[in-house]
Symmetry: C2
Subunit: 348 residues, 2 copies
Amino acid sequence: MNIKSIDPDWIAGAWARQNRLTKPPGALGHLEEIGVRLAAIQQTLKPKLGKGAVIVCAADHGVSAEGVSAYPAEVTAQMVQNFLSGGAAINQIARANQAEVYVLDVGVKGLVGMQGFASLHTRKIRQGTSNIAKEPAMTHAEAEQAIRAGIEIAQGAIAEGATILAAGDMGIGNTTVAAALTAALLGLAAEEVTGRGTGVDERGYGKKLEVVGRGLARAESRLGDLTQAGPLEVLAELGGLEIAAIAGVYLAGAEAGIPCVLDGFPVTAGALVACRINPAVRDFLFAGHCSVEPGHKKQLAALSLGPILQLELRLGEGTGAVLSFPILRTAAEVMGGMATFEEAGVST
Amino acid sequence: MNIKSIDPDWIAGAWARQNRLTKPPGALGHLEEIGVRLAAIQQTLKPKLGKGAVIVCAADHGVSAEGVSAYPAEVTAQMVQNFLSGGAAINQIARANQAEVYVLDVGVKGLVGMQGFASLHTRKIRQGTSNIAKEPAMTHAEAEQAIRAGIEIAQGAIAEGATILAAGDMGIGNTTVAAALTAALLGLAAEEVTGRGTGVDERGYGKKLEVVGRGLARAESRLGDLTQAGPLEVLAELGGLEIAAIAGVYLAGAEAGIPCVLDGFPVTAGALVACRINPAVRDFLFAGHCSVEPGHKKQLAALSLGPILQLELRLGEGTGAVLSFPILRTAAEVMGGMATFEEAGVST
């Protein structure tokens, strides 16, 4: 894909204006850097953000058979139905923050007969992945297809007017997969990236740690040093179909040159894959929030991104990403609308 | 004033519903408690927030003659003009977040001839306070008048449709005054509550610390133990006219029974005064953000409030308060709009 890095001259020019606005330099904290990055992304000193989109990517995980989650696997399909009927958290958060919800089924087990929902995009590549503790999650070709599905739905959302993009995730078992992927891509140990997910108990947590370790050892035995392996190879070994699709969403957003907001741990695992495929994706990323999952901090540190919100969210679905949209919109308004000291006749 | 505390039965009832919504319990972090408190304030399980208002209270401070600020005193009047012509940060932030800006001049030195600005409310009690390091800031009657001005403008904003209220501050020298007030009300030392304000240098900071200490010693010599003194007495000794008005804003918001959002250090000093006047005010307060000022953390701890945003803001004007409005609105939508597990047919 053709993704152009941000021009550093635009960053410098935007800071030059930001520092002349009628406030003590730095007094708007992180809002200032957000505004500067939005200016550079849009190549204007008066950036503007309109409506947003969140692509909620959903799939099942063979690894859920290991008992790594507090919820049974059928919840993935049930929650997708909840997204479609508007009863989930992401529906309320999107409505309250001018964002459209797109639901992308790349591998939800047993979800059928859902015709008639305009927000559902069915690109079911297979009925969930294989168990990463025992075998590769999917084939290389399936990983590619899932990425492609994410790209296409994101491109559709952008064509329909989205000026700011986020991915969301739904897939029982996916924090286990995200932990394995994150450990693989960043060269970390299972202990550093494995958390409680939706709230697994002590016994389940021990199982989860062990499963992540087994998956990593298995993948290493096939690919060698995982930090050096190709992103599609790592994804096929340890990935989730929805995480591959999420990588596609961020690739498409970066190619379109619009701000792309991260959600929590599984979504950021997808973004790490996208950045491994094309490092220029990083220039378009904003960290919507920092989740309770310990691995999320590691991911954000690896991307050198500070979180916009710190509300102790751990739900996924894109909730933390969309919740930060108004902060990004406001940062753009501040950058574009404030008077400079000279314009306002204020002493410095 | 007649301020009714929140009914704990409403809090319990709202938590009972919040815990049955289709998400792992607690997965929406601080958003859940915000939604519960909004439900209890509005006495409905489906709370709704519409447009907001921010009352930016402005006044000058005699103590600025001591060289405690990085900016000259005339900046107060210049910034008020900037608010009126729409060039300040609060104007952009309010516009982007469905809030109306009301500017209240309770004591800006030399600001005259500003007729024709609908957003300006002139209730100039005097041309700034006296220097708190040397003498009482104002009389008891003046403190009362300033509180009354804040109450009246806030009541006007509520009558004009505000469903969520914030106060903002403008006054060169007001972090010095806020430090003295906070130390007095909470029984803290000058060192614990004095920060850099708009960015004073090392020499100015030393001066600021010394001035806060002198003000406290002077007030103590007149009132005895300041933690036990009446709030109006403390305000008259160490206050600012805009901080008194801010106390009035929160008193009026709490009496009207609408959510009231705090901004940074000077605004929260005003809220501390309001809570000392009537402790039931606390039930209606939300901490919009946590500022860089060290004393702000102490204030929020004293109020047992966790900040919604942590963006390292230190501007004032109400910016951090209004920036959090969409989070409060979203928390209300989530509380009111999400399906329960039973309603959505999702396994638990």
